[in-house]
Subunit: 182 residues, 2 copies
């Protein structure tokens, strides 16, 4: 914002998954405020499709103590491109290699609290193999679910899928590609 000025910024909490930055800033009327920003790595979301089907994953989420049906999603490591992360996450979480990745754009995931971005990829030309799960994913019995593309919107409508990042990512895909499946 023109006329807003950051006065100082410092890390006030740090863990393996994210940092919290405390920021003091001044708005245009001259008053100062504090804001707390969640600094978390950008991530990728992958939509692997083949013959009218999409491959989702079901995984246990410790934050909500239950399993969720989601798209493949994973953090980008430092220095890693979104494309490289998309390939890696698809292979690790779903055991799928893809010949073709298409960048569908990115969004802000959680703008009230973080500047984190989610990069959405379509993956086509699939080859199926074994998942390479991390320990908590394995302990959480992460598994791949094959669903007709034409049924996903019904799963959102009936709230079988209730993860905002999956809903937003799939919508971006459908807005661009839906006509191909009708």
């Amino acid at each position: 914002m023109k006329n807003w000025k950051t006065i100082k910024s410092k890390t006030v909490f740090e863990c393996k998954y994210f940092k919290i930055e405390e920021e003091d800033f001044k708005t245009k009327n001259g008053k100062t405020h504090k804001y707390y920003i969640l600094d978390r790595k950008n991530y990728v979301v992958v939509i692997p499709i083949e013959n009218g089907f999409v491959y989702l994953v079901e995984q246990y989420r410790h934050t909500i103590k239950t399993k969720l049906i989601e798209l493949v999603i994973g953090a980008m490591e430092d220095g890693e491109t979104s494309l490289k992360a998309a390939k890696k996450e698809l292979e690790e979480e779903a055991g799928i290699k893809a010949k073709k990745f298409t960048n569908l754009g990115w969004y802000y995931s959680y703008k009230g609290c973080s500047g984190q971005k989610g990069f959405v990829f379509l993956a086509e030309g699939l080859k199926f193999g074994e998942q390479k799960l991390e320990e908590l994913e394995r302990e959480g019995e992460m598994k791949v679910i094959k669903v007709k593309i034409s049924e996903v919107e019904e799963m959102i409508k009936s709230r079988i899928i209730k993860d905002a990042e999956t809903i937003a990512s799939f919508n971006i895909f459908m807005l661009k590609y839906k006509s191909s499946f009708n």
Copy 2:
């Protein structure tokens, strides 16, 4: 998860907007792990429609240092129902009173990090008045934008709208109501 057990949980960071909970837990193979959960109030998202138009807001987001076009969104205060919060946020942020609110369901906003839920409401029978903005909203020049319902998906496709919560919420609305506008 069956056989996962929380050993202890404590608050390791707290600010005006959220807390961070550190949780030690054991998975079914007996190993212990630490997880950090963002504890942030649930929120409401409101979709006010009238005569084929929807009313969005544009606001400056300090987390990303730019303005975003979004749906009306706001935290539920302790003890407040989602319906009450929806009425309040719509009136404060957009200056709109509505005769009828329809609960369209909720989603997990940010499941990798938080159990926070977003409750989506459709608002109809609108009466337009003055916004009652909080200081940072006023300093951030928050304003209402009137858009044809039929144009919002194009705004998502062309990335004029790039906020995941707005995209997911609008999609939930469209999946249920699109046929009414065609």
